[in-house]
Protein backbone atom coordinates (compact mmCIF):
# COMPACT_ATOMS: atom_id res chain seq x y z
CA UNK A 1 0.00 0.00 0.00
CA UNK A 2 2.76 2.40 0.89
CA UNK A 3 6.04 1.94 -0.98
CA UNK A 4 9.55 2.10 0.43
CA UNK A 5 10.11 5.29 -1.49
CA UNK A 6 7.02 6.85 0.01
CA UNK A 7 8.15 5.71 3.44
CA UNK A 8 11.42 7.52 2.94
CA UNK A 9 9.66 10.76 2.07
CA UNK A 10 7.39 10.45 5.11
CA UNK A 11 10.29 9.80 7.41
CA UNK A 12 12.31 12.72 6.09
CA UNK A 13 9.29 14.99 6.42
CA UNK A 14 8.74 13.84 9.98
CA UNK A 15 12.37 14.51 10.85
CA UNK A 16 12.39 17.99 9.38
CA UNK A 17 9.08 18.88 10.99
CA UNK A 18 10.14 17.64 14.42
CA UNK A 19 13.30 19.74 14.26
CA UNK A 20 12.21 22.92 12.61
CA UNK A 21 8.46 22.87 13.12
CA UNK A 22 7.69 22.95 9.42
CA UNK A 23 9.04 21.62 6.15
CA UNK A 24 9.48 22.98 2.64
CA UNK A 25 9.84 21.24 -0.68
CA UNK A 26 13.33 22.66 -0.86
CA UNK A 27 14.48 21.21 2.44
CA UNK A 28 13.01 17.82 1.66
CA UNK A 29 14.72 17.93 -1.69
CA UNK A 30 18.09 18.64 -0.07
CA UNK A 31 17.67 16.06 2.67
CA UNK A 32 16.68 13.27 0.31
CA UNK A 33 19.02 14.40 -2.45
CA UNK A 34 16.13 14.26 -4.87
CA UNK A 35 15.31 17.12 -7.21
CA UNK A 36 12.49 19.50 -6.31
CA UNK A 37 10.06 18.61 -9.10
CA UNK A 38 10.22 14.97 -8.04
CA UNK A 39 9.57 15.90 -4.44
CA UNK A 40 6.77 18.17 -5.54
CA UNK A 41 4.91 15.46 -7.39
CA UNK A 42 5.48 12.98 -4.59
CA UNK A 43 3.92 15.45 -2.15
CA UNK A 44 0.84 15.54 -4.35
CA UNK A 45 0.70 11.75 -4.34
CA UNK A 46 1.02 11.57 -0.57
CA UNK A 47 -1.66 14.24 -0.28
CA UNK A 48 -3.94 12.06 -2.45
CA UNK A 49 -3.27 9.21 -0.04
CA UNK A 50 -4.21 11.37 2.91
CA UNK A 51 -0.74 11.38 4.46
CA UNK A 52 0.38 14.91 3.70
CA UNK A 53 -1.32 18.30 3.54
CA UNK A 54 -0.17 20.00 0.40
CA UNK A 55 -1.13 23.48 -0.79
CA UNK A 56 0.83 25.34 -3.44
CA UNK A 57 3.53 27.59 -2.01
CA UNK A 58 2.57 26.70 1.56
CA UNK A 59 4.74 24.80 4.04
CA UNK A 60 4.30 21.04 4.01
CA UNK A 61 2.45 19.31 6.81
CA UNK A 62 1.74 15.72 7.80
CA UNK A 63 -1.83 14.61 8.49
CA UNK A 64 -2.42 12.63 11.68
CA UNK A 65 -2.37 9.50 9.57
CA UNK A 66 0.91 10.61 8.01
CA UNK A 67 2.43 11.38 11.41
CA UNK A 68 1.49 7.96 12.68
CA UNK A 69 2.89 6.19 9.63
CA UNK A 70 6.12 8.14 9.91
CA UNK A 71 6.45 7.48 13.62
CA UNK A 72 5.99 3.76 13.06
CA UNK A 73 8.83 3.77 10.55
CA UNK A 74 11.01 5.70 13.00
CA UNK A 75 10.01 3.11 15.60
CA UNK A 76 11.24 0.30 13.39
CA UNK A 77 14.45 2.20 12.65
CA UNK A 78 15.27 2.92 16.28
CA UNK A 79 14.30 -0.53 17.54
CA UNK A 80 16.58 -1.97 14.89
CA UNK A 81 19.47 0.28 15.90
CA UNK A 82 19.02 -0.78 19.49
CA UNK A 83 18.88 -4.43 18.51
CA UNK A 84 22.02 -4.19 16.40
CA UNK A 85 23.95 -2.59 19.25
CA UNK A 86 22.57 -4.58 22.17
CA UNK A 87 22.11 -8.01 20.65
CA UNK A 88 24.55 -8.16 17.78
CA UNK A 89 27.45 -6.17 19.12
CA UNK A 90 27.65 -3.37 16.57
CA UNK A 91 28.98 0.05 17.55
CA UNK A 92 26.54 2.96 17.69
CA UNK A 93 28.32 4.52 14.72
CA UNK A 94 27.75 1.45 12.52
CA UNK A 95 24.04 0.89 12.77
CA UNK A 96 22.39 3.72 10.89
CA UNK A 97 22.79 2.40 7.35
CA UNK A 98 21.64 -1.10 8.24
CA UNK A 99 18.61 0.21 10.15
CA UNK A 100 17.81 2.45 7.18
CA UNK A 101 17.17 -0.74 5.22
CA UNK A 102 15.60 -2.93 7.87
CA UNK A 103 13.07 -0.23 8.78
CA UNK A 104 11.21 -1.13 5.56
CA UNK A 105 10.70 -4.79 6.46
CA UNK A 106 6.99 -5.63 6.61
CA UNK A 107 6.59 -8.01 9.52
CA UNK A 108 4.94 -6.91 12.75
CA UNK A 109 6.08 -10.16 14.40
CA UNK A 110 9.71 -9.40 13.62
CA UNK A 111 9.70 -6.02 15.32
CA UNK A 112 7.54 -7.29 18.19
CA UNK A 113 10.16 -9.92 18.84
CA UNK A 114 12.98 -7.38 18.77
CA UNK A 115 11.10 -5.16 21.18
CA UNK A 116 10.51 -8.08 23.51
CA UNK A 117 14.10 -9.36 23.37
CA UNK A 118 15.30 -5.84 24.16
CA UNK A 119 12.92 -5.49 27.10
CA UNK A 120 10.79 -2.75 25.50
CA UNK A 121 13.40 -0.02 25.36
CA UNK A 122 12.35 3.63 25.43
CA UNK A 123 15.38 5.05 23.61
CA UNK A 124 17.75 4.01 20.85
CA UNK A 125 21.55 3.77 21.16
CA UNK A 126 21.89 7.51 20.47
CA UNK A 127 19.39 8.42 23.18
CA UNK A 128 16.55 9.25 20.77
CA UNK A 129 13.12 8.15 21.96
CA UNK A 130 11.45 5.11 20.35
CA UNK A 131 7.79 5.74 19.44
CA UNK A 132 5.37 3.14 20.83
CA UNK A 133 3.21 0.78 18.76
CA UNK A 134 0.60 3.50 18.25
CA UNK A 135 3.19 5.99 17.03
CA UNK A 136 3.30 8.06 20.21
CA UNK A 137 6.47 9.23 21.89
CA UNK A 138 6.86 9.33 25.62
CA UNK A 139 9.24 12.21 25.58
CA UNK A 140 8.57 13.89 28.88
CA UNK A 141 12.16 13.98 29.91
CA UNK A 142 13.62 14.02 26.42
CA UNK A 143 12.15 17.37 25.55
CA UNK A 144 13.76 18.86 28.65
CA UNK A 145 17.25 17.96 27.55
CA UNK A 146 19.44 20.93 26.74
CA UNK A 147 22.49 21.29 24.56
CA UNK A 148 25.87 21.05 26.25
CA UNK A 149 26.73 24.21 24.34
CA UNK A 150 24.09 26.08 26.34
CA UNK A 151 25.68 25.16 29.67
CA UNK A 152 27.86 27.45 31.75
CA UNK A 153 31.19 27.08 33.49
CA UNK A 154 30.85 24.95 36.58
CA UNK A 155 27.70 23.13 35.44
CA UNK A 156 27.56 19.39 35.96
CA UNK A 157 25.27 17.46 33.62
CA UNK A 158 24.54 13.95 32.38
CA UNK A 159 25.07 13.10 28.70
CA UNK A 160 21.71 11.75 27.53
CA UNK A 161 21.54 11.84 23.73
CA UNK A 162 23.22 12.84 20.49
CA UNK A 163 21.15 14.94 18.12
CA UNK A 164 21.43 14.17 14.38
CA UNK A 165 24.42 12.00 14.91
CA UNK A 166 26.80 11.59 12.01
CA UNK A 167 29.16 8.62 11.94
CA UNK A 168 32.07 11.00 12.24
CA UNK A 169 30.72 12.58 15.40
CA UNK A 170 30.07 9.17 16.93
CA UNK A 171 33.57 8.00 16.08
CA UNK A 172 34.94 11.16 17.65
CA UNK A 173 32.98 10.48 20.82
CA UNK A 174 34.23 6.89 20.82
CA UNK A 175 37.81 8.12 20.57
CA UNK A 176 37.27 10.34 23.63
CA UNK A 177 35.46 7.58 25.51
CA UNK A 178 32.46 9.83 25.90
CA UNK A 179 29.31 7.74 26.04
CA UNK A 180 25.67 8.10 27.05
CA UNK A 181 25.24 8.38 30.80
CA UNK A 182 28.62 10.08 31.40
CA UNK A 183 28.59 12.84 34.00
CA UNK A 184 30.18 15.89 32.42
CA UNK A 185 31.55 18.87 34.32
CA UNK A 186 32.14 22.09 32.38
CA UNK A 187 35.55 23.33 33.49
CA UNK A 188 35.89 26.37 31.27
CA UNK A 189 34.56 27.96 28.12
CA UNK A 190 36.87 29.71 25.66
CA UNK A 191 35.26 33.06 24.79
CA UNK A 192 36.88 33.24 21.35
CA UNK A 193 35.33 30.09 19.81
CA UNK A 194 33.01 28.87 22.58
CA UNK A 195 34.94 25.62 22.84
CA UNK A 196 34.61 23.90 26.20
CA UNK A 197 37.06 22.16 28.43
CA UNK A 198 35.21 19.45 30.33
CA UNK A 199 35.93 16.50 32.58
CA UNK A 200 34.10 13.18 32.77
CA UNK A 201 34.89 9.56 33.63
CA UNK A 202 38.63 9.15 33.64
CA UNK A 203 39.22 12.29 31.57
CA UNK A 204 40.37 15.35 33.47
CA UNK A 205 40.39 18.00 30.77
CA UNK A 206 39.01 17.28 27.29
CA UNK A 207 38.52 20.11 24.85
CA UNK A 208 35.28 19.96 22.83
CA UNK A 209 34.57 22.38 19.99
CA UNK A 210 31.32 24.31 19.95
CA UNK A 211 30.23 22.30 16.94
CA UNK A 212 30.50 19.13 19.02
CA UNK A 213 28.87 20.65 22.13
CA UNK A 214 25.95 21.76 20.02
CA UNK A 215 25.13 18.12 19.22
CA UNK A 216 25.31 16.73 22.74
CA UNK A 217 22.04 16.72 24.66
CA UNK A 218 22.40 16.69 28.40
CA UNK A 219 20.25 16.65 31.51
CA UNK A 220 21.14 19.22 34.16
CA UNK A 221 22.04 17.69 37.55
Amino acid sequence: MISQTEENYLKALWNIISNKGEASVNELSKQLEIKMPTVNSMMKRLAEKGLVIYESYKPLKLTDKGKKQAALIIRKHRLTEMYLVEKMGFGWEEVHDIAEQIEHIQSPAFFEKMDELLGFPKVDPHGSPIPDKTGKIEAEQYIRYIKLSDCREGDTVTFMAVSHSSDDLLKFLNSRELSLGSKIKVRSIEPFDDSMTVSYGGRKAEMLSNKVCDKLLVRPA
Copy 2:
Protein backbone atom coordinates in the same frame (compact mmCIF):
# COMPACT_ATOMS: atom_id res chain seq x y z
CA MET B 1 23.83 -2.46 -9.52
CA ILE B 2 21.45 -5.40 -9.23
CA SER B 3 17.90 -4.56 -8.15
CA GLN B 4 15.75 -6.46 -5.66
CA THR B 5 13.53 -7.52 -8.51
CA GLU B 6 16.47 -8.88 -10.43
CA GLU B 7 17.63 -10.69 -7.31
CA ASN B 8 14.25 -12.38 -7.06
CA TYR B 9 14.45 -13.63 -10.64
CA LEU B 10 17.97 -14.95 -10.09
CA LYS B 11 16.99 -16.74 -6.94
CA ALA B 12 13.94 -18.35 -8.53
CA LEU B 13 16.03 -19.44 -11.51
CA TRP B 14 18.64 -20.93 -9.20
CA ASN B 15 15.98 -22.85 -7.29
CA ILE B 16 14.35 -24.25 -10.40
CA ILE B 17 17.68 -25.20 -11.94
CA SER B 18 18.93 -26.93 -8.81
CA ASN B 19 15.77 -29.02 -8.64
CA LYS B 20 15.03 -29.85 -12.21
CA GLY B 21 18.35 -29.27 -13.92
CA GLU B 22 17.00 -26.61 -16.26
CA ALA B 23 14.49 -23.79 -16.28
CA SER B 24 11.94 -22.43 -18.75
CA VAL B 25 10.32 -19.05 -19.06
CA ASN B 26 7.03 -20.75 -18.27
CA GLU B 27 8.19 -22.25 -14.99
CA LEU B 28 9.80 -19.02 -13.87
CA SER B 29 6.61 -17.22 -14.74
CA LYS B 30 4.55 -19.60 -12.62
CA GLN B 31 6.93 -19.59 -9.70
CA LEU B 32 7.19 -15.81 -9.53
CA GLU B 33 3.55 -15.25 -10.46
CA ILE B 34 4.66 -12.84 -13.12
CA LYS B 35 3.41 -13.03 -16.71
CA MET B 36 5.60 -14.65 -19.33
CA PRO B 37 6.33 -11.56 -21.44
CA THR B 38 7.64 -9.78 -18.36
CA VAL B 39 9.85 -12.72 -17.49
CA ASN B 40 11.00 -12.89 -21.07
CA SER B 41 12.19 -9.31 -21.16
CA MET B 42 13.82 -9.63 -17.75
CA MET B 43 15.76 -12.64 -19.02
CA LYS B 44 17.09 -10.49 -21.83
CA ARG B 45 18.13 -7.83 -19.33
CA LEU B 46 19.89 -10.35 -17.11
CA ALA B 47 21.58 -11.79 -20.20
CA GLU B 48 22.82 -8.25 -21.03
CA LYS B 49 24.24 -8.06 -17.53
CA GLY B 50 26.03 -11.36 -17.99
CA LEU B 51 24.03 -13.24 -15.36
CA VAL B 52 21.86 -15.44 -17.56
CA ILE B 53 22.35 -17.28 -20.83
CA TYR B 54 19.34 -16.57 -22.96
CA GLU B 55 18.65 -17.94 -26.44
CA SER B 56 15.20 -17.87 -28.00
CA TYR B 57 13.21 -21.04 -27.40
CA LYS B 58 16.10 -22.63 -25.48
CA PRO B 59 16.11 -23.55 -21.79
CA LEU B 60 17.37 -20.80 -19.47
CA LYS B 61 20.78 -21.07 -17.85
CA LEU B 62 22.74 -19.10 -15.31
CA THR B 63 26.27 -17.97 -16.08
CA ASP B 64 28.92 -18.62 -13.43
CA LYS B 65 28.51 -15.01 -12.35
CA GLY B 66 24.75 -15.51 -12.15
CA LYS B 67 25.13 -18.69 -10.15
CA LYS B 68 27.40 -16.98 -7.69
CA GLN B 69 25.07 -14.01 -7.28
CA ALA B 70 22.11 -16.30 -6.75
CA ALA B 71 23.97 -18.46 -4.24
CA LEU B 72 24.95 -15.38 -2.25
CA ILE B 73 21.30 -14.36 -2.02
CA ILE B 74 20.37 -17.89 -0.94
CA ARG B 75 23.17 -17.62 1.61
CA LYS B 76 21.67 -14.46 3.06
CA HIS B 77 18.22 -16.05 3.09
CA ARG B 78 19.31 -19.20 4.88
CA LEU B 79 21.59 -17.45 7.34
CA THR B 80 18.69 -15.18 8.19
CA GLU B 81 16.34 -18.12 8.71
CA MET B 82 18.86 -19.72 11.00
CA TYR B 83 19.32 -16.50 12.92
CA LEU B 84 15.59 -15.99 13.34
CA VAL B 85 15.16 -19.50 14.72
CA GLU B 86 18.32 -19.76 16.83
CA LYS B 87 18.69 -16.24 18.14
CA MET B 88 15.21 -14.78 18.08
CA GLY B 89 13.09 -17.76 18.95
CA PHE B 90 10.91 -18.02 15.86
CA GLY B 91 9.52 -21.38 14.76
CA TRP B 92 10.90 -22.91 11.55
CA GLU B 93 7.51 -22.40 9.94
CA GLU B 94 7.53 -18.64 10.60
CA VAL B 95 10.81 -17.53 9.13
CA HIS B 96 10.47 -17.82 5.39
CA ASP B 97 8.59 -14.59 4.70
CA ILE B 98 10.83 -12.49 6.91
CA ALA B 99 13.98 -13.97 5.39
CA GLU B 100 12.53 -13.30 1.94
CA GLN B 101 12.76 -9.61 2.76
CA ILE B 102 15.98 -9.52 4.76
CA GLU B 103 17.88 -11.40 2.04
CA HIS B 104 17.89 -8.15 0.05
CA ILE B 105 19.66 -6.10 2.71
CA GLN B 106 22.94 -4.72 1.39
CA SER B 107 25.40 -4.96 4.26
CA PRO B 108 28.17 -7.51 4.28
CA ALA B 109 28.90 -6.65 7.93
CA PHE B 110 25.36 -7.52 8.96
CA PHE B 111 25.46 -11.02 7.50
CA GLU B 112 29.05 -11.58 8.66
CA LYS B 113 27.89 -10.82 12.16
CA MET B 114 24.95 -13.20 11.91
CA ASP B 115 27.23 -15.93 10.62
CA GLU B 116 29.64 -15.36 13.48
CA LEU B 117 26.96 -15.23 16.18
CA LEU B 118 25.57 -18.50 14.82
CA GLY B 119 28.99 -20.16 14.83
CA PHE B 120 29.21 -20.45 11.03
CA PRO B 121 26.37 -22.91 10.49
CA LYS B 122 26.39 -25.22 7.47
CA VAL B 123 22.63 -25.70 7.20
CA ASP B 124 19.47 -23.67 7.77
CA PRO B 125 16.60 -24.63 10.10
CA HIS B 126 15.08 -26.84 7.42
CA GLY B 127 18.32 -28.70 6.83
CA SER B 128 19.15 -26.96 3.55
CA PRO B 129 22.84 -26.18 3.08
CA ILE B 130 24.05 -22.58 3.43
CA PRO B 131 26.40 -21.53 0.59
CA ASP B 132 29.73 -20.09 1.78
CA LYS B 133 30.93 -16.52 1.17
CA THR B 134 32.14 -17.43 -2.30
CA GLY B 135 28.79 -18.94 -3.25
CA LYS B 136 29.91 -22.57 -2.98
CA ILE B 137 27.92 -25.26 -1.24
CA GLU B 138 29.61 -27.95 0.79
CA ALA B 139 26.97 -30.52 0.08
CA GLU B 140 28.90 -33.74 0.27
CA GLN B 141 26.50 -35.37 2.66
CA TYR B 142 23.44 -33.39 1.62
CA ILE B 143 23.39 -34.81 -1.88
CA ARG B 144 23.39 -38.30 -0.43
CA TYR B 145 20.18 -37.77 1.49
CA ILE B 146 17.27 -39.84 0.24
CA LYS B 147 13.55 -39.38 0.52
CA LEU B 148 11.78 -41.15 3.35
CA SER B 149 9.31 -42.29 0.72
CA ASP B 150 12.09 -44.33 -0.93
CA CYS B 151 12.82 -46.29 2.24
CA ARG B 152 11.62 -49.83 2.91
CA GLU B 153 9.97 -51.56 5.83
CA GLY B 154 12.41 -52.06 8.67
CA ASP B 155 14.77 -49.25 7.60
CA THR B 156 16.03 -46.94 10.32
CA VAL B 157 17.08 -43.47 9.20
CA THR B 158 17.82 -40.00 10.54
CA PHE B 159 15.61 -37.07 9.53
CA MET B 160 18.03 -34.50 8.04
CA ALA B 161 16.10 -31.96 5.96
CA VAL B 162 12.76 -30.89 4.53
CA SER B 163 12.66 -30.25 0.80
CA HIS B 164 10.61 -27.26 -0.44
CA SER B 165 8.99 -26.83 2.91
CA SER B 166 5.61 -25.17 2.98
CA ASP B 167 4.35 -23.62 6.19
CA ASP B 168 1.59 -26.22 6.29
CA LEU B 169 4.00 -29.12 6.12
CA LEU B 170 6.19 -27.59 8.85
CA LYS B 171 3.16 -27.06 11.07
CA PHE B 172 2.14 -30.66 10.47
CA LEU B 173 5.60 -31.85 11.50
CA ASN B 174 5.43 -29.61 14.59
CA SER B 175 2.10 -31.19 15.53
CA ARG B 176 3.66 -34.67 15.32
CA GLU B 177 6.81 -33.56 17.20
CA LEU B 178 8.88 -34.68 14.25
CA SER B 179 12.03 -32.56 14.05
CA LEU B 180 15.44 -32.61 12.38
CA GLY B 181 17.74 -35.21 13.86
CA SER B 182 14.93 -37.60 14.83
CA LYS B 183 15.71 -41.28 14.29
CA ILE B 184 12.85 -42.73 12.29
CA LYS B 185 12.07 -46.43 11.98
CA VAL B 186 9.79 -47.55 9.15
CA ARG B 187 7.32 -49.98 10.69
CA SER B 188 5.13 -50.70 7.70
CA ILE B 189 4.13 -49.37 4.32
CA GLU B 190 0.52 -49.51 3.12
CA PRO B 191 0.56 -50.87 -0.44
CA PHE B 192 -2.64 -49.07 -1.44
CA ASP B 193 -1.48 -45.47 -0.94
CA ASP B 194 2.18 -45.90 0.05
CA SER B 195 1.51 -44.29 3.41
CA MET B 196 4.01 -45.25 6.10
CA THR B 197 3.65 -46.12 9.72
CA VAL B 198 6.80 -45.05 11.50
CA SER B 199 8.12 -44.68 15.03
CA TYR B 200 10.50 -42.04 16.38
CA GLY B 201 11.17 -40.26 19.66
CA GLY B 202 8.24 -40.92 21.97
CA ARG B 203 5.89 -41.84 19.12
CA LYS B 204 5.29 -45.56 18.64
CA ALA B 205 3.19 -45.58 15.49
CA GLU B 206 2.59 -42.44 13.46
CA MET B 207 0.99 -42.62 10.04
CA LEU B 208 2.58 -40.41 7.39
CA SER B 209 1.06 -40.01 3.93
CA ASN B 210 3.20 -40.56 0.86
CA LYS B 211 2.94 -36.85 0.11
CA VAL B 212 4.60 -36.08 3.43
CA CYS B 213 7.21 -38.85 3.15
CA ASP B 214 8.19 -37.49 -0.25
CA LYS B 215 9.28 -34.21 1.34
CA LEU B 216 11.35 -35.65 4.17
CA LEU B 217 15.04 -36.13 3.41
CA VAL B 218 16.77 -38.72 5.53
CA ARG B 219 20.20 -40.25 6.01
CA PRO B 220 20.30 -44.04 6.10
CA ALA B 221 21.74 -45.48 9.33
